[in-house]
């Protein structure tokens, strides 16, 4: 049910081997999803799709990209790897055909009313091949298409019905359409290539990868339609209806630190978090060490704010990837130890400020601290660059269930003791928001979803049964 994903689409100024551009774009978005990848291309109004489980470069190679031929429009998707049960059925783009032709949909997000919508559709005789919200969205759009003068009008009408988080890229026989939910929960931006081609992407780093300039982010609720000759039309009828609620975790963790998300450079946000962590929770120490890779930006910010030297005390084994499985042995070895090692020469005898992006169950933090102590660290002051998780996310973030969240059941002091830290500090919820507001050039309309920290959901909460009912 988790839909943290990356979407990418391009309307080219000329017919070309467009699958390759999508391939490069998806590779840049790979951090948003490692379970499955797919590309659909549109040549002469015929859409063909290839998708499978695996990383982008596992699913596609030069041969298969060439076989996809030249095209005028193309879209692609990478999908998050949830533990357990990856399925081909849920991989995207979802390509279906209907009375007006074909439609390919790429979706990032999670609906909050998919349970109700699905039930209603089923009562009308609809059948479902997958458990994904994307199929619900497909039905909603195509139902509206029957009586709409255009596909974009059908999308607009469907947006009256679907609720929750969604950034969509759709490809019809003749158009490329991008749209973002009225809360703006998930990011979506657009760019231009030198030759006029229009590109949509979850993050700007994928625009860099294909040599496109970032034009702007889509507004919450905006629909952008690209048609003949790369002509762009914006439909804003759903804009301004809801308070803006970009998921703050895009800054804290999801997005690549070289992306700009809703006008804020991600790296700048993270560095500022480090600075704020020092202000909120200063520690007297010899060095600042970030847990690679996601703790490094904040560690640098903490170091700059505090004057405590930034140091590389932990090193990551870059060959332990998605497919690495520890074959286990007598509990002697743990995977954390394989992935990370301490540099004894750096940490021995030192008082350390240790920065990581989050604590979920606490087990990883405990092992990292144990590793540092066994390498001679004298004191460990752990600082977390996000507030404590206390609430479930209904918008596509794979937060563990509340009973597993250590912050839900324990005080900060208790957690510190459990993981073995001398002191422990989290970023405050206020700071997480304030940093974004302070960095946003036009913060009049800015707004952020921090529901996983404070329980303040921008939409109504999904029906209880929605997660468990359809486990095909």
């Amino acid at each position: 049910m988790h839909e943290e994903c990356g979407v990418f689409g391009i309307y080219s100024s000329k017919e070309t081997s467009l699958a390759k551009d999508v391939y490069y774009g998806l590779t840049a978005l790979q951090h948003r999803g490692q379970e499955a990848a797919g590309i659909a291309v549109n040549k002469d109004r015929i859409i063909r799709c290839k998708k499978d489980l695996g990383l982008v470069h596992e699913v596609f190679d030069a041969k298969s990209l060439n076989e996809m031929g030249s095209a005028k429009i193309a879209v692609g998707h990478v999908r998050y790897s949830t533990s357990g049960n990856p399925t081909r059925e849920n991989s995207q783009p979802m390509l279906t055909s209907h009375i007006k032709g074909q439609l390919a949909i790429c979706h990032n997000g999670n609906l909050s009313n998919s349970f109700e919508l699905r039930k209603e559709l089923e009562l009308g005789g609809c059948i479902f091949h997958s458990t994904s919200d994307t199929e619900v969205i497909s039905y909603c759009i195509i139902k509206e298409r029957l009586s709409s003068p255009s596909i974009e009008e059908a999308v607009s009408r469907a947006m009256n019905v679907i609720d929750g988080a969604y950034s969509l890229i759709l490809m019809s026989p003749a158009k490329l359409i991008a749209c973002r939910d009225p809360h703006g929960l998930r990011p979506l931006c657009m760019g231009r290539m030198m030759d006029g081609s229009v590109v949509f992407s979850s993050e700007s780093c994928a625009l860099d990868a294909v040599g496109a300039e970032l034009t702007r982010e889509l507004l919450p609720g905006e629909i952008v339609v690209v048609s003949d000759n790369c002509r762009i039309e914006s439909i804003k009828s759903h804009c301004g209806r809801e308070r803006n609620s970009l998921c703050i975790f895009e800054y804290i963790y999801f997005s690549r630190n070289d992306s700009v998300v809703d006008s804020i450079p991600v790296h700048r946000y993270r560095t500022e978090v480090g600075r704020r962590l020092f202000q909120e929770d200063p520690a007297d120490a010899d060095i600042v060490v970030g847990v690679p890779d996601s703790g490094l930006d904040a560690a640098l910010g903490y170091s700059r704010a505090s004057g405590i030297p930034y140091a590389m005390g932990l090193i990551k084994n870059k060959y332990i990837g998605r497919t690495f499985i520890a074959p286990g042995k007598d509990e002697r070895y743990d995977l954390v130890r394989m992935k990370l090692n301490a540099i004894k020469d750096v940490v021995d005898g030192k008082r350390i400020v240790l920065i990581d992006d989050s604590i979920v169950r606490g087990t990883t933090s405990e092992r990292i601290i144990r590793l540092l102590r066994s390498s001679g660290a004298k004191e460990i002051h752990m600082r977390i660059s996000s507030p404590p998780f206390r609430h479930p996310c209904y918008y596509g973030t794979d937060v563990d269930s509340p009973e597993n969240l250590i912050a839900n059941n324990h005080s900060i002091d208790e957690i510190a003791e459990m993981i073995g830290a001398d002191t422990l500090g989290f970023l405050s919820v206020e700071s997480a928001r304030d940093i974004a507001l302070s960095l946003c050039p036009d913060n009049k309309n800015a707004g952020y979803c921090l529901a996983c920290f404070n329980g303040d959901y921008p939409t109504r909460i999904p029906h209880e049964g929605s997660k468990t009912r359809f486990e095909i």
Copy 2:
């Protein structure tokens, strides 16, 4: 669009590792489809499905069968390998969910009104993930399910709407249902295991493979429902409405020669064909040689009728399977030569009656005759154990398009000259039917479709556009 396939289903007297039974059954039906294979199992009303492109033993191994766990009901499907473009989307069982739960469908056949049905469904907002008739059938049944008191009633009502060839095996959360179209175009039989388990299969050879006894064939139009405690119920409301029209090609080619199809042992039919070929078209020769494997039964029959010795003059390389691809070289080599070799010691200096099951384009026959002549054969009198193809098949048989059928454009004498045979004879259309009628124990109601030979279609002919419109 070709749907020549094999279907298999089992309702077990007790919960067991049922996927293995289906695996054995499908392996026995492998000759009916080598493109894709799939199995769905039902445990505690939850249906899970695994399917992929490949042979049964390529898609499944001991590990994956064990992972499917124990189950009470299970179904499986093998799919025909059409040239060109195998797709995962069209593989079966097709597992979908709807308002009353899940439904898995296995289908052998081809609808004659799928174009119209699909269009009507689309006008109601339905979306399609595949190009297969099976998805159309799914929608029809599930639409009826909304207002039907039971799944079998929904199937019965859907049968009022769908037209053409279909043998179906369906699995709902609680039932296993088999049904056969009112013309009985495709075969479907049922059997019992010693422990009371009920088995359905396209052919009886798969019953043998799992140790079940053949009980009987389903009647054309019959619906058989298996529910709790292997209780069987037969619904005959669609029986007797149409003239029986079993595809005669099931006897000539499709079915395995150890199967019994609609009360006729296939091997007996084929042997009798050989006898009739001699009666209709006697040849003076030294030996009778069948093209392995499909010409051997008729060759034996011809030999017995004529008294001309049966001989093994052609040998087949059994290691050249589905995946063998000739890497080509200077046109020096042909694949026929790799697959078949003549035994010079047998054919040298001989006058040969050569029996094959059909001539489509004539190129294979020409090469086999050339091979025999280069090994010293003096005369070659070719006899074909089917009538000449002259008409397209709309019921799932992959007959080449009429312009490629050599019999459509040439007289028998012309064909004989083109393929290099001294004489050439085909089985007459009348004999093809009469042999079946004469072998059928209860031939009062028997009837056969010979449309590909005589153009006499039992249903209306499908709409022209149906083959080309939806090439997703």
Copy 3:
């Protein structure tokens, strides 16, 4: 240690994509070995080799064959699949380099003094990468090469040292050499293509596959050297030293029935065996049924001699190949049942003469007989187209160990009872030899090894430790 294999080599009249010819040749020899396949090509005196575990068409495809480029000389090898432990190290061609350049060796057979030779070589400081006799042969030839004026002279000198069964095809930077052990235990033949290219092969069926004419078999002890312009030189210095001893099992089982081996068409030998079985052991029955595929020729011979009709009572599932593994279930299913089925319509109520090629442990025969009886067979008179196995083979045939051979521990009557046959007969040892002598055009020098039946070994018996010492 089992070396039943197929070898193939070609010296082309012109540089061409020769790997493809070898690919076709090896595919025709695939029945001689399914464990591993390899091809080595020689272009401008540089030899490159590709080999791996698997069938020929699994190891090679159009891409890899093209990558091997054009060549003037090429050799190839298929290797037997022994149960248990296939290793890449033992696959062939064995390509090594030495002081005079490279040498590729393809070997079919088994040495009887490899233990002693290996020990002697090791005492001289030699190291071994494999457990195969082929590495021993390589060393012996290369040691001799140091002081020999030519590679063929080195081969000739090595033949003074090595003892046992070997048919070799060697490729040096400039020459293609074939040689056969002085007893002629394993077959080896040569042929010519229309363009003058020279081909060597274990069996003539591979010559047919590449369009070459069979010229003749190599004489026992003969060395044939092909060099520039396809010039052929024969060295006969080792000929006539030993009594000819072609392995009789090449006729009974190993060779393809469309091959001619040492002047006898294999199919003719097998048919004659059927005739002799009737003469030695007539049965009163209704039909003669062969166990496919290896019992069919003899069944036809028995039928012709006896006048009892030949019938197809057993059918083989052709999709159960090398890689098929029965996932097992409650002992309800056996693999014999999956591989074979009886045609009830043929065998029901019949008295059957059942012909198979051999009985090893008896379990397979027992299951086949049970299958026939459950399909209604009234009497089963089993006839085996070989004498009973009683002795181990040291020349590359994978005969089971004596304690597992049913014929070693039981009388024929006992075996008949164990397998459930009404009567049982084996071919006599004398007939096995006499048939070959009677069919051989020039039987003055003909001679055969029947050691596995009568214990009369043509060479000395290998040292006891030789099988078990080097299990790398």
Copy 4:
């Protein structure tokens, strides 16, 4: 011919699933070689080996590690991925058998007299299956073994003959032996587990990975023998004969920065290089940026020495691994761009000190600088943490051929202009050595090979033909 590799061996205090320990150790050494991986285990004096092309976790999984069973001694190897032509034949451990049993060899390094040794061995009748020096070493040891009282004595005698760079780990039926060439060109260290097990490894990071403590490095020329009950014996007869010459590139690039190599923590060396680069070549700039990952340590050192802030201006796509292949398109995209991106927010408008580990052809540097400038960088002062390459390496480092080395053909100013840097500085050869000497606790005997920078080779230079002769 490139032999940059990682070796690992363990003698366990008790029989256990030792292949898993080697698996963890090799995973930690994966940076030393990504072409091939292999493990050999010794149980009851029988050695079994599994190896193949690929990363450690591609070659091995839980199933294959379990199949290797329990063992008392085990060794493993990872091999460098040279461009072009990876071969299975050259992968290691090299397992051979000889008169005294089996021997598994793992080798890191390159001999300087392998051409002569191989020729001499061939003149004695030796045959070679690979092109690797390791096979030469195997022969040398095994030849000596014939007349030596022990395997370690044979190793010692072989060391009189072989010349060049080698760190070896050998496994005989009863012993684990490690040895290091008398110059100490390649590193090799030993450690102990809590339970007394003895471990050898190329680098200490692999000891950390299996929970062993670093005991010490092997001395140049030392042979360490581990036998029953983990008893350790050191043979120092070859120690002190040559000047110590550890490859300085182990500090600059090869080793992981969390390893300690010959008593110097690698990270400390690299940080010190950054400091020295500032002293030798100060630049006036706003930020210091390292090219990830290998330029980061020196960038931190430069920052600390200069007071110029350390910044993350370049980000690496961690999903572009060994197997990623850019499918290419119109030269619009380059792989550098896919692998690296600039963080515009960090570098825009800045004067940058850019630190990378080396310049080979200059193309990568040129692209990185172009990337930074297109993101707004105002000045780029490039500093290289190694001296310019000017000479070939004969000891296993894959330095490009001299004609491709930009530093060989151009002055530093010319290079700066070619790559587009405002200024360019390399570490001086003296500093590269002096830093190591200053960090080495016991620098009386310390010595380093800097031949690729200054042409001062510690051994004689290999024979000219050695690289090209044996391209099997």
